[in-house]
Symmetry: C2
Subunit: 366 residues, 2 copies
């Protein structure tokens, strides 16, 4: 990474710039924002090293382009930068729904585009809220497809790890179903709980009796509606599917209460309790770096297959490259995985997928 | 308050005892618990001044009895103490659903029973987690009915204010509908969100991608299922009604997304956002004490009517007593309300209900 372009210098773009400039002094970071005063403030904060008022100018010569604009501006910006993006540059984004965005990105930029979604944010927004530590210890999802080049994946992955995040590979469709369940439907539910409570005709003073539980459950209902409309628009299908799932779970509970099947309800609550406790008790896989080397056919989809298999296992890929064979038709995928157990699990999973996995004896401690 | 009995020396009973013993040194506080080791530990912690292994023994001679036992033990305990409760004692409880409990309490003890529900708690339980500050600045709901004597209300109210809480009068039915909306259904919803997320067949590692929003919304799903079963059993009807409300709100959202009515969805999210922001921005009514004096007919229900009118306005009644006229048929209800604006609002509301309100000129600062 030598020259970076950050398009959209708000909370996320600004935080990426701040983190990069801190980690890699001397880096050339061009900032563009629809609002020139935002990119000027990004320069003043040290989040970018220069502000460009033209997006094409910002991406020209960059080896990594990060698109951190609102979803509604994404496609227009993609068209605007297309003629200026270098043939060997990587372009990634940070949008919270991926299927549509990745299709658009690949449609215009081909294998250079890899979708990304850092799982970090803040209730604040704008460059003034930017924070170089925003991504430290957060997950950063990358959504490779059969089209994605390994160079683009490796470059986006380096961006994330430089900022202190942990990279997880997930397919775009699976990502969207996952965030519908884990983020978008919980968001709608918080709003629905407030709507149901506030709409029941109580005096306002009585609603003030709500305790800490209600406060927790509905906190995110105070989020920016504009932001959520664009997310829900983009992830409409997955959200509808996940809302249906939730509706069924609530119906199950209602029927158990109606029929006074208290033992069944106890089991249901206990199962949810256990799942909730386990969810946030998972240790992040870390450990000594272990190298895996995999002979791969030179066909599309190998990269996505390998990285999303690691994502499902929670195995942390710290480094990755594909060495293409000069004879063509085959290549070698070299991975560095954090921790011996995670490496063993991933090797088994890849062997089950038909790959042959070697363990080159690399001594990382020297 | 000279002699108190605390039945059930767990988190809530123990915290009540600790707070009372700290506020009123020299108070005689008898503690009873089904588990004698719990009442012994309550003595050791200074939450009660003596442990009784017999509930009847504990309540004999007490002028205030606080029942802080699990809902499932309530009715049996009521029967056990009934022969030993003094005719002029007040009995109150702390259960989180009130209609059934108040009916049972009044059925056995008549006007001496007044339902209570302190809106405070902890994820921990048992005497070892008890905290004398648990109720400081919390709301403490009292649920007077047409049966409740003003002496019992005043005594339960004094208990709550001694512990630092703010008393709010709400009818038992209204209370139950309110907690269904503000507590019981949010609880079920948190479990349903976990059930829907965990039941979708994702790999566990991917569920670990859940962010802070999901963490907040589902935090209470880790609560004790046993406790919730007894609450949901007791408040079954109101919970079913409120679940239906929530289901309709979620259906509304799904239809707007399905039909791509984004402007309507934006309005819906904005309304919920505003309601959520207002909900916890309410300042608690405080201010100089203002006395109101109300001529009241000597008929049942006056106390409940006046105190729940104050609850709906968020007016904080700091002191209250009924002076019965020697001529019979009429009496005088004397209230002290916190703050001039709250007193004005309450006076207007009571006049609208047909009461004549006087403002005796009492100088509280001397």
């Amino acid at each position: 990474m030598r020259r970076i372009a950050v398009l959209g210098t708000g909370l996320i773009g600004g935080s990426i710039g701040l983190g990069l400039c801190r980690a890699l002094p001397g880096l050339d970071v061009a900032g563009y924002d629809r609002d020139p005063s935002a990119s000027d403030r990004a320069v003043a904060r040290g989040a970018v090293t220069r502000a460009e008022t033209d997006a094409g100018q910002a991406v020209a010569g960059a080896d990594l382009v990060v698109m951190a604009v609102p979803l509604g501006e994404f496609e227009a910006l993609l068209g605007a930068i297309h003629p200026f993006v270098s043939p060997d540059a990587t372009v990634t984004d940070v949008a919270s729904a991926k299927t549509a965005v990745v299709a658009a990105g690949e449609g215009v930029l081909g294998s250079r585009f890899v979708g990304g979604h850092p799982m970090a944010g803040s209730e604040r927004h704008g460059i003034d809220a930017a924070d170089p530590d925003l991504f430290v210890d957060a997950s950063w999802i990358l959504t490779p497809t059969a089209t994605t080049s390994s160079a683009a994946y490796a470059s986006a992955s380096e961006l994330a790890t430089t900022l202190g995040a942990r990279v997880v590979g997930v397919g775009p469709d699976e990502h969207d179903a996952l965030v519908a369940r884990l983020s978008h439907v919980p968001q709608l539910t918080a709003s629905a709980l407030v709507a149901a409570a506030a709409g029941a005709g109580d005096e306002e003073a009585l609603l003030g009796l709500a305790g800490g539980g209600f406060r927790d459950v509905t906190r995110i209902a105070a989020s920016d509606p504009e932001l959520w409309i664009s997310i829900l628009r983009t992830n409409r299908t997955a959200v509808l599917g996940s809302l249906e799932h939730l509706g069924r779970a609530l119906d199950d509970a209602a029927v158990m209460i109606e029929d006074e099947r208290w033992n069944d309800l106890r089991d249901w609550l206990t199962k949810a309790r256990r799942a909730r406790l386990e969810l946030f008790a998972k240790p992040v896989t870390t450990g000594e770096p272990v190298a895996l080397s995999i002979m791969v056919p030179d066909r599309p989809g190998v990269l996505a297959e390998v990285t999303t298999a690691a994502g499902k296992l929670g195995a942390n890929i710290e480094d990755l490259r594909i060495v293409h064979s000069t004879e063509g038709g085959r290549g070698r995928l070299e991975l560095v995985v954090a921790g011996r157990t995670a490496a063993d699990d991933l090797a088994l999973a890849l062997e089950a997928l038909g790959y042959h996995v070697d363990r080159p004896d690399i001594n990382f401690s020297t």
